[in-house]
């Protein structure tokens, strides 16, 4: 239960932060966004209250209050910046408390300082309204039209009720056998909003053949609920119905604890004045409690006055809410994304791992069943049809399982947005973070491991990269610095780049530092610029001169590299002095679907990612020749490429040896283009890349050039060629 609470609250906070960030550029939120923030605070409030996390629930309540005001049309105006600050601080506060909960600690943060800031804002927002609020129109001017609509809608609704009332009004006139009863209703302790529960009772009774009077008379008065708690809800009911029926209605009302119902004499002192006199005319309101003043001037509504909620303020308020409700419905489309986000549930990744493995096993088992030798050559038409259906279902299952583990980068990038915002404010810099490709989906693990390195790199870019606005002006650059965060898929890798348009890296400083620390392994003159820049990733290297709150925590870029290397990735940096720095992180997908070409060498099956394939050629022997050292070369369109016989490289026996009998594939890698020679090309497949089992790494076989493996639909195991790895070997 706690897990569900934490998870959902975190999701909501993330959505909230998204909305706030989206709105902050324009320094205000639009109506949709206001509605969304309101809903989020409302949900967090409710959930926190259920979990009895009081500080969280009161803070969210306060924030909800503030957004209720704004939603009702009060414009914070000049208070927007302060409001954004408070909201961001609150998000941080909530997040910190969630972190404590995750750590099995009690959320003990004190929300009072935040609440006080919210209070100040609320007062400010209320003060913004220049004209004193008229009770009939709490909405802002802009909402008036909708308010009218809502009123009209309500009027319509009430008209039908009024008709019903009319129909009943005739028999409601006291019949000869009618009697007056006094009922006292007590509600369950702490069931809250007792006045509205009483209002509910009144509504139900009025649909019956009765005349009513009750205490407290004004159910919308602020003291009504308390009165009812203390004295009970007292009704005088004049009816010809049997008392048992009345009692049943009262008893059936939710949260009613006790009901006493007793007849009172016609002329008893107890009976309220209006009960003693006959109603003058139907629909006048006399048969309801006296406080029921008609709220709106339209005749239709007046006719329904007996049914209309009593005080004008309440009426107006309910219009206001109807309006808000309508707005919410309209918002439906835009907030759909948020809805989708809230639909997530958390699942242990280990479970997903085993699910994936099982699906792989099912594929194999399926193939064993379908191609079972016991069937022989007999025709089995219906079996084939069933098998076909099974096949397509399993394919679908496989796709779903794959997609479950993939999550978009947007969650990660979101954090960065916030970081850039907070840091640039702090350092007085003006930096725009541009995000590209946040929909790129990667394995869950990748996101987890990428988070810290990315934070670190971006901190560096903000802190040391982008210059202050003054300095940028001097340099003739635009005052607004830019950091571009981009994610994209390139074949089997995800590439994340962080590009800033700041000062760039200082080559001389890096060299000097590297010299001091003895990190240089080559003569300085042989180092390329790129190599110099990448020295910053060496352990023990750090050019930080000044430790700042954000970028200096005693961790250097070597930690970044270590973290990324841990998930099999690589990081590099390039820079142009005065123009900026580009950090590039490449991460192989631990789990992905790859389009590949399948081929065989002897009995071994291989898959090579299609992105790496330039062409596949049926070679003629004269295209292949040897260089002076005996290495085979292949001539394609007048250019010569090294040729690698996979049978020799992987030491596979019983393979094609004659060039004319086999096939050549022309591959491109990061480093260079080259050719491989194999036996037979089997066609194109979409495969699920799986890591090689770890026990293979323990045995001594040559894994260079193998990036993973894949099980095909027929259950065969295929090795996936790591083209870059192979290129390094030839």
């Amino acid at each position: 239960m706690l897990d569900a609470y934490i998870y959902e609250t975190q999701q909501l906070l993330e959505a909230l932060e998204n909305t706030l960030l989206a709105g902050e550029n324009g320094q205000k939120l639009d109506a949709d966004q206001i509605g969304e923030v309101f809903r989020i605070m409302h949900t967090i409030k409710g959930a926190s209250a259920m979990m009895e996390f009081e500080e969280l629930s009161i803070l969210s309540h306060k924030l909800e209050d503030m957004f209720t005001l704004i939603r009702e049309g009060k414009d914070p105006g000049a208070a927007w910046p302060a409001l954004f600050d408070v909201m961001f601080s609150s998000v941080s506060f909530f997040n910190a408390e969630m972190a404590k909960l995750l750590d099995k600690q009690t959320p003990n943060g004190d929300s009072l300082p935040l609440r006080e800031r919210v209070e100040v804002l609320i007062r400010q927002i209320e003060g913004e309204e220049t004209t004193p609020e008229a009770p009939e129109a709490p909405e802002g001017a802009g909402a008036e039209e909708e308010a009218v609509d809502a009123a009209a809608e309500e009027a319509e609704m009430n008209t039908t009720e009024a008709e019903a009332e009319d129909a009943q009004a005739e028999p409601a006139a006291p019949a000869a056998d009618s009697a007056i009863y006094k009922a006292t209703v007590h509600f369950e302790k702490d069931c809250q909003m007792e006045n509205l529960r009483a209002f509910g009772i009144v509504q139900v009774l009025q649909k019956m053949n009765v005349r009513l009077s009750y205490l407290p008379a004004d159910l919308s008065a602020s003291s009504a609920a308390e009165d009812i708690v203390n004295n009970g809800f007292i009704l005088y009911i004049q009816t010809s119905e049997s008392p048992a029926e009345i009692k049943a209605v009262l008893d059936e009302t939710l949260f009613v604890k006790a009901v006493t119902l007793s007849p009172v004499g016609e002329d008893s002192e107890d009976i309220p004045i209006e009960m003693r006199t006959q109603p003058e005319a139907k629909g006048q309101g006399a048969d309801v409690k006296p406080a029921a003043a008609p709220a709106v001037e339209t005749p239709e509504v007046k006719a329904s006055a007996p049914e209309t909620p009593p005080a004008p303020e309440a009426e107006a308020a309910s219009n206001g809410n109807g309006d808000a409700a309508a707005a919410q419905v309209n918002n439906g489309m835009t907030s759909f994304e948020t809805v989708a986000k809230q639909n997530f549930i958390s699942v242990n990744v280990n479970k997903l791992d085993s699910l994936l493995n099982i699906v792989g096993e099912i594929v194999t088992a399926q193939s064993m069943v379908v191609n079972n030798a016991d069937f022989g050559d007999r025709p089995h038409e219906s079996f084939d049809m069933a098998a076909q259906q099974l096949h397509s279902l399993i394919n679908e299952l496989q796709d779903i399982v794959m997609s479950i583990r993939m999550i978009p980068m947007s969650t990660l990038f979101q954090k960065m947005r916030r970081l850039v915002r907070d840091m640039s404010r702090r350092f007085g810099k003006q930096i725009q973070l541009e995000v590209i490709g946040e929909d790129t989906e990667v394995d869950k693990n990748v996101i987890d491991y990428l988070s810290d390195p990315l934070l670190h790199i971006i901190r560096n870019s903000v802190d040391h990269g982008v210059e202050s606005p003054e300095r940028r002006r001097e340099l003739g650059k635009p005052e607004n610095g830019r950091i571009i965060l981009e994610a994209k898929m390139t074949g089997s890798d995800v590439v994340v780049t962080v590009t800033d348009d700041g000062a760039g890296l200082n080559k001389d400083k890096i060299l000097q530092k590297a010299r001091e620390k003895g990190l240089l392994t080559k003569p300085e003159s042989e180092l390329t610029d790129r190599e110099i820049y990448n020295l910053i990733f060496l352990p023990g290297f750090s050019t930080k001169e000044q430790v700042t709150e954000y970028s200096g925590r005693g961790v250097g870029m070597d930690v970044v590299r270590k973290n990324i290397a841990y998930i099999g990735g690589a990081v590099s940096v390039d820079s142009t002095p005065g123009q900026g720095t580009v950090h590039t992180i490449r991460i192989p997908l631990t789990l992905t679907i790859v389009d590949g070409m399948k081929f065989s060498v002897g009995k071994m099956n291989f898959i090579v990612p299609t992105v790496n394939v330039l062409s596949a050629i049926k070679p003629s022997p004269e295209d292949v020749f040897k260089d002076p050292e005996g290495n085979e070369m292949m001539m394609i369109l007048g250019k010569v490429y090294p040729l690698m016989r996979l049978s020799r490289f992987f030491n596979i026996h019983d393979t094609v040896t004659e060039i004319a009998d086999g096939m050549i594939m022309h591959l491109s890698s990061d480093e260079r283009d080259f050719c491989i020679f194999f036996d037979h090309l089997d066609g194109e497949y979409q495969v699920v890349v799986k890591k090689l089992p770890s026990y293979l790494e323990k045995c001594s076989s040559n894994l260079q050039g193998i990036g993973g493996c894949a099980i095909l639909g027929d259950g065969s195991i295929n090795l996936i060629v790591d083209v870059n790895g192979l290129a390094a070997e030839c």
């Binding site: 409710g46 939710l254 949260f255 309440a314 308020a317 919410q328 439906g332």
Partner: protein, 118 residues
């Protein structure tokens, strides 16, 4: 035994209510995360009792309540409200809600409410 549908945009609240109801003899036959889905599922499952959150995206609880009452005027809908939603609760009552429960509520509260309606 009554068939119950839980409508709330917060998964946490749905789980909470569901867990609370596990202890009584009723069966949760459907859940919905907004009013629109709630109306569809109502038609599909025709539950005996609906617990309906008020503030939801897409379609709020009041609108859903009205649509459900339009489908079945005898539908038993309990609104799940929070403090501060008095006006909406009032509207819900006028629209035919059988009652309401105020967050945060206790297990006994919601079970008692549902038992009473069942």
């Amino acid at each position: 035994m009554a068939k119950i549908m839980i409508v709330d945009d917060a998964a946490f609240m749905r789980i909470t209510i569901k867990n609370m109801l596990k202890k009584c003899a009723h069966e949760v036959v459907a859940e919905a995360e907004n009013g629109k889905i709630a109306v569809e599922r109502y038609k599909q499952f025709m539950p005996d009792i609906v617990t309906m959150d008020i503030t939801m995206p897409e379609m709020d609880g009041l609108k859903a309540l009205k649509e459900i009452i339009a489908i079945n005027p005898k539908a038993k809908v309990i609104m799940v409200s929070a403090m501060g939603q008095e006006a909406m609760v009032r509207e819900a009552i006028l629209s035919g809600a059988k009652g309401f429960i105020v967050k945060p509520f206790k297990e006994e509260g919601i079970i008692a409410a549902i038992d009473k309606l069942a």
